[in-house]
């Protein structure tokens, strides 16, 4: 199917190589004198030697990079360094840090969610950081997310957790129990009640975790660190939670929607509630909306997964002290964090920024309150074997796909069966290495 494409690609490649060759050689001749001149400007002190200006490379996903890029000018000016913020595809930051770092082509710093901490630390591609006095300003959930093997592997600056959007034209707020949610939907008469990702064929353990772990269920036991040998997906609390989710699906409270369907339903006013995170505020603004806490389960507050975003230092950076300084002296300061927040609003992980945000943005405060109830997503590499099985099990419940499987002969007749199966798959995967 792609013979022709291959050939075209090959020609393009040859052409680009030729161009690169020409471009490279001409650039060299232009640049050389410039490099020699530059240090003379930094020769403020009589005694200093004259190295070329230092350069830091930061990788970040588009939204973050676009917010950060205009801010680093102040640091470049003050510190006399060149900070290059590279827009990097969100999905490939981890993979490329793992491969480019060892090859000597990685960044000095990069921004990523915390769920990769275990994997990048195990692989030795990130350097630990001693946050010193600013550590006390960071919420515990942030430090917990970035801790692995007794070290902290970055500066956590933002948290993320799901909460419940409501259509404020149709309802006054989010009720505190699921029974009241159902009643509110019946009263409003919308086509769907709660749109939550993780159904409609699109398995999504992340959005469904409050249904499982709010009332005593858990994936890995957390005790200072996550313990991959203690899996609580099929303890009695998790099973009864899963059965309760099943009830909510059966009585029509939770609709069978994947992410896209839950979004369009909310935007078109066909659903009263939408369970997702603060990143969707722009999408939700198609209607008048408000945000509240996810209703409680049997009296226990809903505990969503908290994602923590932070800045890491590459172990392969040759300028570690400079990289540490960039974080401690610049990026972690309240002013920069506030400016970042203005460009790319994410729940603050620092108390000082939260104090500012709380007064300015009540909706962000709701998400923050939801995150405060939550637990950090496990950051150990074993988590990789969880998403698939748990997403599948919750998908069975959400889509009511019960029955006996003809190929495997296994019967899943209830939500409990589905969770037991998932727990077994996770245990097998971890045991199998």
């Amino acid at each position: 199917m792609n013979n022709s494409r291959l050939r075209f690609g090959a020609i393009l490649l040859i052409l680009s190589m030729v161009l690169v060759a020409c471009g490279g050689s001409s650039e060299d001749t232009v640049e050389e004198p410039a490099v020699e001149e530059a240090p003379s400007e930094t020769l403020a002190a009589p005694a200093t030697t004259s190295p070329p200006p230092e350069k830091l490379v930061v990788w970040a996903e588009e939204k973050v990079a676009v917010a950060l890029d205009p801010l680093v000018g102040a640091y470049e000016q003050a510190a006399g360094v060149d900070v290059e913020v590279v827009i990097y595809d969100f999905g490939s930051i981890k993979d490329d840090v793992l491969t480019a770092g060892p090859a000597g082509e990685g960044p000095d710093l990069f921004i990523s969610p915390h769920d990769i901490v275990g994997e990048v630390a195990t692989n030795g591609v990130v350097a630990p950081i001693d946050l010193g006095s600013i550590q006390s300003d960071i919420f515990d959930v942030g430090i917990a997310g970035f801790s692995y093997g007794g070290e902290v592997y970055g500066f956590p600056y933002a948290t993320e957790a799901i909460a419940m959007y409501y259509n404020s034209d149709l309802v006054d707020g989010v009720p505190s129990t699921w029974e009241e949610v159902k009643a509110a939907c019946d009263a409003a008469g919308t086509e769907l009640c709660v749109g939550a990702p993780g159904g409609g064929g699109g398995g999504d353990a992340y959005h469904n975790m409050p249904f499982i772990q709010s009332d005593g269920g858990y994936i890995f036991k957390f005790d200072g660190g996550f313990d991959p040998s203690d899996i609580g997906l099929d303890n009695s609390a998790a099973l009864s939670s899963a059965e309760y989710l099943d009830t909510l699906v059966k009585n029509g409270t939770i609709a069978a929607t994947d992410y896209g369907a839950s979004m369009t339903a909310f935007q078109e006013g066909r659903s009263l509630f939408w369970m997702t995170g603060p990143w969707a505020r722009g999408d939700a603004s198609a209607v008048n909306y408000g945000v509240g806490l996810i209703p409680s389960f049997d009296g226990s507050a809903a505990t969503p997964f908290v994602g923590v975003r932070g800045m890491f230092i590459s172990a392969f950076s040759e300028k570690k002290v400079l990289a540490q300084s960039f974080i401690l002296d610049f990026f972690a300061t309240v002013d920069v964090q506030a400016a970042m927040y203005a460009q790319d609003p994410r729940l603050p992980a620092t108390k000082s920024l939260f104090a500012i945000v709380e007064t300015e943005d009540p909706i962000a405060a709701q998400f923050a309150a939801s995150a405060a109830n939550g637990i950090p997503m496990p950051n150990i590499p074993e988590m990789g074997s969880v998403w698939g099985p748990v997403g599948d099990a919750l998908l069975i419940i959400r889509d009511q796909n019960y029955g006996t499987n003809e190929d495997t002969g296994v019967t899943v007749d209830s939500a409990s069966d589905a969770m037991k199966l998932a727990a077994q798959q996770v245990r097998d995967a971890i045991a199998g290495g």
């Binding site: 002190a45 030697t49 006399g80 692989n123 409609g200 590499p381 495997t408």
Partner: protein
């Protein structure tokens, strides 16, 4: 001299210059493999284009080099990886691991979290001095030295004279205090320097501040690990133990293996696992069967839709031929991943347009709407439907092209002999088409056999095959199944295992292709003479 010769030498010159440019780079990165490749390629290119004796090679050499670079090398590398334990925790080489471990510092419990102002100074000999303001009784001053000089016993002293009565720092005339900006300009040097407090304790510059005062941290004067290359032993200085070499590419300190480890060759272990591991073997037959079905029906459906359209539009009586042809190319022109995502939305069972359109039919026949993506049959149908949409324009194009090359006399002759149009199509046109198209069909089969994008984006492998030992779905094909196993293994990503599976898939496709080519050769022998 002819202009073409001049161009040739200029281009060759540029090429050689570029290659020479790479040589010192490769040496500085100790990348001997790259150096070897650069050498071979430069040699090949020069020998081909400098002399006139090897004229035919001029056309072949570039292609040969690209074949090496983009086909043979990745395949060979993949084959190599399949014999290693390349996985999370083992992605570096041993040299890199030792470098990483030797780079680690450590602080004892009481040294941890102590943060204090640190001043950096220089004397007229350009030597650096640190002044650490720990507390009232510890205003430590001394020469900043590298770890090689630790044995020279340049310990720091308490120097109260650096503070005046108002507790402000006073710097003597003989020293120059570096500003934050100047410290940053020299940070590459400064990060190697320490202020040695005593035999076991040192102070390092940790945070250079351009907005306030720089600060330091206290570390143990020893690194966390030290490595002796003669004996190949790593010492863990936190516990004071010597670490042994594990057989999986790890150092083992006090019974615990140290992360990161490095990659080693493990022989046929990955292949053995595929055979032995129940988690893998269990769903394998289901997945393999569907992979073959998927690849076969994808090609078949796309081919017949394309064939039908091409033959129909090939009729001279059709008006606006070009318009129709352009329209049918559109699915080919839209990037596949976009159409796939669009289809995912269209097929949504609750809100998708397709079920909306089909609604009258559901009503008429009084049946339940199709629950796309939620049942095995509907998911498989959706996958084939979308792949047919994506694939038919290509078939349409090549069939249209091939049709033009079939001499019309043959068809006319068969007409004269009394063949019906149907007979002349199936007996003459179709076999002749197959002669030229069957290699492309085989190619399309191999492509679909590994059509990861479609499955990953459209169904994600779902719906789940409930009850399997591992998370796998009904529409998972071998390559997406492998992907899931490799990235969601017990502990991170397992490249070695994934490479082993892809090697097996490679040989499968190779065998199928070989048999098919054999068959198409036979076709050629029968019909090629016509």
């Amino acid at each position: 001299m002819k202009i073409s010769t001049i161009i040739r030498y200029v281009l060759l010159g540029i090429f050689n210059a570029l290659m020479f440019y790479i040589v010192p780079l490769a040496i500085s990165y100790e990348s001997w493999f790259l150096l070897l490749i650069v050498g071979i390629i430069t040699f090949l290119i020069n020998i081909t284009y400098l002399t006139n004796r090897l004229k035919p090679l001029k056309w072949i050499t570039p292609g040969f080099i690209f074949l090496l670079a983009f086909v043979v090398f990745p395949a060979g590398f993949n084959f190599y990886v399949s014999f290693t334990n390349w996985q999370t925790g083992h992605i570096l080489t041993k040299t890199q691991v030792i470098e990483r471990l030797e780079d680690l510092t450590f602080s004892t419990e009481e040294q941890r979290g102590v943060e204090f102002d640190l001043y950096v100074m220089q004397d007229s000999d350009l030597d650096y001095y640190f002044l650490a303001d720990l507390d009232e009784n510890n205003l430590l001053f001394g020469k900043a030295i590298t770890s090689d000089e630790f044995n020279t016993i340049n310990y720091a002293n308490h120097e109260p004279s650096f503070k005046d009565s108002n507790n402000n720092i006073v710097i003597p005339e003989s020293l120059y205090l570096l500003s934050g900006k100047e410290q940053i300009a020299n940070s590459s040097q400064l990060q190697e320097l320490s202020l040695l407090v005593d035999k076991n304790t040192r102070i390092n510059l940790y945070n250079i501040s351009v907005f306030g005062a720089s600060s330091g941290r206290i570390f143990s004067s020893q690194q966390k690990y030290s490595y002796d290359s003669d004996t190949d032993i790593l010492y863990d200085n936190t516990q004071n133990v010597a670490c042994t070499l594990g057989d999986r590419g790890n150092f083992i300190c006090g019974g615990e293996s140290v992360d990161p480890g490095w990659r080693i060759t493990v022989g046929s272990e990955n292949y053995q696992r595929i055979i032995d591991d129940e988690r893998f073997r269990g769903p394998l037959s289901t997945v393999a069967t569907w992979t073959f079905q998927f690849a076969f029906f994808s090609v078949l459906l796309a081919f017949f839709v394309g064939l039908f359209l091409a033959v129909t539009l090939n009729n001279e009586k059709v008006r606006f031929q070009k318009v129709y042809r352009s329209i049918y190319i559109i699915p080919y022109a839209i990037p596949g991943f976009i159409s796939i995502l669009v289809f995912r939305g269209l097929l949504n069972p609750d809100f998708g347009l397709i079920n909306d359109w089909l609604d009258p039919i559901y009503q008429l026949l009084n049946i339940e709407p199709i629950r796309w993506f939620r049942t095995e049959a509907s998911s498989k149908a959706a996958v084939l439907l979308v792949n047919t949409w994506l694939g038919f324009p290509y078939m349409f194009l090549i069939v249209t092209g091939a049709l033009q090359s079939i001499p019309t006399e043959l068809i006319e002759a068969s007409k004269v002999d009394g063949a019906t149009p149907r007979q002349s199509f199936w007996r003459i046109t179709f076999p002749l088409l197959l002669v030229s198209i069957s290699p492309l069909l085989i190619g399309a089969f191999a492509y679909n056999f590994n059509n990861f994008t479609l499955i990953f984006l459209l169904t994600g492998g779902g719906p789940p095959l409930v009850g399997a030992d591992v998370s796998v779905g009904y529409t998972d094909i071998l390559i997406s199944f492998t992907y899931n196993l490799a990235v969601s293994g017990g502990r991170g990503v397992q490249f070695g295992l994934a490479a082993a599976v892809t090697t097996i898939i490679f040989f499968l496709v190779l065998i199928i292709s070989a048999i098919s080519f054999r068959y198409s050769k036979r076709l050629e022998r029968i019909y090629g003479n016509i």
